[in-house]
């Protein structure tokens, strides 16, 4: 019987190695897998590259992982959400790859969909296009962007079944359904695991084939877990 549920957060983290590229879902705290990040802190992997829209909020979660010196590089669109990021970056202790938000989403989608790279108008003629290949298409400037994949994706969803089918709540979807497609190992924190067949086939947002592990984490609204 297919069953992707693991029973502990420690089991969910099994096999994550030093130097991994880790895709982390969420927009601000909504859809951000706080329990999985805490478990990753516990697990110990270091020299990580974190791909996440923001650099976390407050002092727990990603800021704590960074503060512990476990993050080598961060790829994001808007890191200026955590004081810890700004301190470490200013001190030269953290590499930063800043990417426009839409380009970040599209690069991750490309990584998951087998696209070798694509041209976008976003960023053309700006600092963020420096050093990148550009091309004029129908008289407009485009920048070539490469796909982005992770060794691991840490995802938050609302419900899952044993096949790994996922639904999301409210604006908690954001990067999660994109990132879950683009990692060798996709680990999902859900509010509840439901019986197979409970999620209507039309209502599945992420088909289970993109998911490797599901861990049920007791109900917690997005802002409950933050330590400021």
């Amino acid at each position: 019987m297919i069953d992707k549920q693991v029973t502990s957060l420690a089991d969910a983290m099994a096999g994550i190695t030093d130097g991994s590229v880790v895709l982390v879902g969420g927009f601000g705290q909504v859809g951000h897998p706080m329990a999985l990040i805490d478990a990753l802190i516990e697990q110990g992997a270091k020299d990580l590259t974190i791909v996440c829209n923001n650099a976390g909020v407050g002092r727990s979660g990603l800021p704590r992982l960074m503060k512990l010196g476990r993050v080598r590089k961060i790829v994001c669109s808007y890191p200026r959400t955590a004081a810890v990021f700004s301190e470490l970056y200013a001190a030269g202790q953290l590499e930063l790859e800043i990417t426009p938000q839409g380009t970040l989403a599209e690069r991750i989608r490309a990584g998951g969909a087998g696209i070798g790279g694509f041209y976008t108008r976003t960023g053309a003629g700006t600092l963020l296009a420096q050093g990148k290949e550009t091309r004029s298409i129908d008289g407009k400037d485009y920048v070539f962007e490469t796909p982005l994949r992770g060794d691991v994706a840490l995802i938050e969803a609302w419900e899952a079944d044993r096949f790994g089918n996922l639904t999301y709540r409210g604006s908690g979807r954001n990067f999660n359904p994109v990132m879950v497609t683009a990692a060798a190992l996709s680990i999902v924190q859900v509010q509840r695991v439901v019986e197979a067949g409970t999620i209507v086939p039309e209502a599945v947002v992420t088909p289970g084939l993109f998911v490797n592990r599901v861990v049920e984490v007791p109900y917690a609204p997005p802002f409950a877990a933050i330590e400021y």
Partner: protein
């Protein structure tokens, strides 16, 4: 949204609401509109009664409503991470689809704040230096090139009195030639082939006064006496 408004104090909020209200008046029914943070956020609550406008938030909402009055759904936030509500007809989606909307030309209007706008419509609103200590771009560059129209809602000058309308941007660009219209506390200004064209003066200001506060040549629009 109300949450943003709540952080401002009386006169500052009133001035900003004046600009936002002027923008809101010009948005026709049925447009799909994305609002940046700052003054643009205030536009949503100032759309004339009975006119349906669909507000998009790049984190995956179309049909966004105002801040919640009573119970808060913590899973519903706007691009500024403030709690919001949904209107009937709202839809929720992921970042890939959200930016397909934005970059694919499906957003009728995006209202953004700016550090500088040049007379060719160049926009600088994401970074104050090419050696930024902690640069952050968010969705600004995607919106600037992707939306059908970019309108800017901002104070005409900085707090130090320097014009934010310039001949050429000194700050790093968000996108070149993207701005179509600028709403400030002094005037409404179109960006045209010949440069800045004042189409409306705000609160009894004269064209000459506006020119005094503007670091680029202003032209009189047709409607302006």
């Amino acid at each position: 949204m109300r949450a943003a408004a709540d952080r401002m104090v009386g006169p500052e909020l009133a001035a900003r609401k004046l600009i936002a209200g002027r923008v809101a008046r010009d948005i026709p029914e049925g447009w799909n509109v994305n609002l940046g943070i700052g003054i643009p956020t205030l536009v949503a609550d100032l759309v004339p009664e009975g006119r349906e406008v669909m507000f998009q938030s790049e984190n995956g909402i179309l049909g966004m409503g105002p801040a919640p009055e009573g119970e808060v759904d913590p899973w519903l936030v706007n691009a500024g991470k403030q709690n919001v509500t949904l209107r009937p007809g709202a839809s929720l989606f992921d970042h890939a689809l959200s930016f397909a909307m934005i970059r694919g030309g499906h957003i009728d209007l995006c209202v953004l704040g700016a550090l500088e706008v040049s007379e060719r419509g160049d926009l600088a609103n994401w970074s104050t230096s090419s050696n930024d200590t902690a640069p952050a771009v968010g969705g600004a560059m995607d919106l600037a090139v992707g939306a059908k129209r970019i309108w800017i809602a901002m104070d005409h000058t900085t707090k130090q009195g320097a014009s934010k309308l310039v001949e050429q941007c000194s700050y790093p660009l968000t996108a070149a030639g993207c701005v179509k219209r600028i709403y400030t506390n002094l005037a409404t200004i179109d960006v045209t082939e010949r440069g800045f064209e004042v189409i409306e003066l705000i609160g009894g200001t004269t064209f000459e006064t506006v020119q005094t506060h503007t670091a680029a040549k202003l032209h009189r629009g047709k409607g302006l006496v």
